[in-house]
Amino acid sequence: MLLADRMSFFEIMRQIYQGFGVTAMVTLLGILYAIPFALLAGVLQHFSTGFYRGVITAVIEFWRSSPVIVLLYAFYYALPAFGIYLSAIAVGAMVLGLNIGRYGSQSVRAALQALNRGQCEAGLALGLSRFDVLRFVELPQAIAAMIPTFINQAIQLIKGTSLVSLITLTDMTLRAKEIAETRYDPVGIYSGLLLAYLIICYPVTIWGRHLERSLGKGRRPHEF
C-alpha cells in the first residue's frame, strides 16, 4: 500500500503551517527589536559627532558586517559560555531583529539627511525645542518616506526566520524537515515549503512595490 502512505499535497501544507506560529512569533518579536534599534541608531548616528559617532557607527557596522547565520550560531552557542542563558526564541528574535534594524537605521539616517533644513529651522523659529523638532517635525516626515523600505525589510525578516530552524526552533522550515524525515517525498515537501513562504511573502512584496511606486522615492534596500 505504497500510495496510501503518501500524504496529499494539502496534508503536507497543513503540517508545514503547524510551524507558522513560531515563524510569526519570531517575526513579531524581531520587529520589536528592529524598529527601536533602527530609530535609535539612525537618530543617534545623525546627531552625534566625534567619539560618540564612532561608537554608534561601530555598533551598526558590527551588525552589518557579520553574516546573520554566523551571529545566530555565535549567540546561541557562545553566550552560555559567558554565563548568559537565553532561550532559542529570544536569541533568534534578537539577532534577526537587530540585523534588520541596522538596515533600518541607515534608512532613518538617510531620510533625516534628505529633509530640507528649512523644516528644522522653521520649527526652532517657532520656539520648539530641538527634541520637539525631531519628534513632531522631522521624524514624522522621515518615517513616511521610509515606509516602503520598512516593508521590504519586513519581508527580509520573515524570510530570515527560516534560519531559526537551525537553532532548534520548530518553525515552518523545521516542520518540513521533520516531515521529510518520516516520509520520502522531497519534491512534495520542499515544493510545499517554498509555496508556504510564497503565500505569505508574495502579497507583501507586491504591496511594498505598490507603495514604493506611489511614494516614488523608496530607497532600494541592500539585502542581508
Partner: protein, 220 residues
C-alpha cells in the same frame, strides 16, 4: 562551561581551512548571479508578454527564503537524476537567489540612462547592437557598480548558510571542530570574528576597486 581563550586561538587555523572555499563560492556565485540577473532583465524587456511572466519569477525568487531554496535544490534535484557536488548546488542556489535582486539593479541601471542617449546614437546611424554595446552599456555600468559591490558583500555573508548542505566552507569547518571537541562556544565565536574580518576586508576591497575604476561617483 567556560570560554577557553587558549582553545579559541588554537582552533583559528582549523576554521580558516574553509576560507578558500568561502571565497571561491562567493566569486562563482557573484558571477552566476550577475549573469542570471542580466538574463532576467533582458527577458523582462524582450517582449510585452514576457514582462509579467518574468516579473512573477523575480518576485517569487525574492519572496522565498534562501535557506528554503537551497534545501529545495539539494533534496529535489537528485529526484530528477541531477546529482551535483554540494558546492555546485550551493553556488547555483546563491546565484539563483541573488539574481532576483540583481535583475532589479540592472533594471534601475538601464532606466537611469537618459533616453536621449539611445535616440542620439540611433540618429547618428549606429546599429542597435552598437547602441547597446558602446552607448548604453558603459553608462549602465557606472550606475550599477555601487549596488553590485554591495550585493557581492551580501553574497559573501550568505555563504555560511551552505554549511547546512555540507559545503566545506568556514562555518562548516567550525562545525567540524565543534563535533570533534564537543565544544561549540569557541568555534562559533571564532567564526563570527573571522567573518567580521573577512567582510571588512571585502568591503575595503570593493570600495577600492570602485575608486580605481573611477566608478565611485555617478556622472549625474
Amino acid at each position: 562551561m567556560n570560554f577557553d581563550c587558549a582553545f579559541a586561538v588554537r582552533i583559528v587555523p582549523l576554521v580558516l581551512q574553509g576560507v578558500g572555499n568561502t571565497i571561491l563560492v562567493t566569486i562563482l556565485s557573484f558571477v552566476g548571479a550577475t549573469v542570471f540577473g542580466f538574463v532576467w532583465e533582458m527577458l523582462r524587456r524582450s517582449h510585452p508578454l514576457m514582462h509579467p511572466a518574468t516579473q512573477f519569477i523575480i518576485d517569487a525568487i525574492r519572496s522565498t527564503p534562501l535557506l528554503v531554496q537551497i534545501y529545495f535544490l539539494f533534496f529535489v534535484l537528485p529526484c530528477y537524476g541531477v546529482t551535483l557536488p554540494a558546492l555546485f548546488v550551493g553556488v547555483f542556489g546563491l546565484s539563483f537567489y541573488f539574481s532576483g535582486y540583481l535583475s532589479e539593479v540592472f533594471k534601475a541601471g538601464i532606466d537611469a540612462v537618459p533616453a536621449g542617449q539611445g535616440e542620439a546614437a540611433q540618429s547618428l546611424g549606429l546599429s542597435r547592437r552598437d547602441t547597446v554595446v558602446f552607448v548604453i552599456a558603459p553608462q549602465m555600468l557606472r550606475n550599477i557598480a555601487a549596488p553590485l559591490g554591495a550585493y557581492s558583500i551580501s553574497i559573501l555573508k550568505s555563504t555560511p548558510l551552505l554549511a547546512v548542505i555540507a559545503v566545506p566552507e568556514m562555518q562548516g569547518s567550525a562545525f567540524d571542530v565543534a563535533s570533534d571537541t564537543y565544544r561549540y562556544a569557541e568555534p562559533m565565536f571564532v567564526t563570527e570574528i573571522l567573518f567580521l574580518i573577512l567582510a571588512l576586508i571585502a568591503v575595503a576591497f570593493v570600495t577600492g576597486l570602485e575608486r580605481r575604476l573611477g566608478l565611485s561617483t555617478p556622472s549625474h
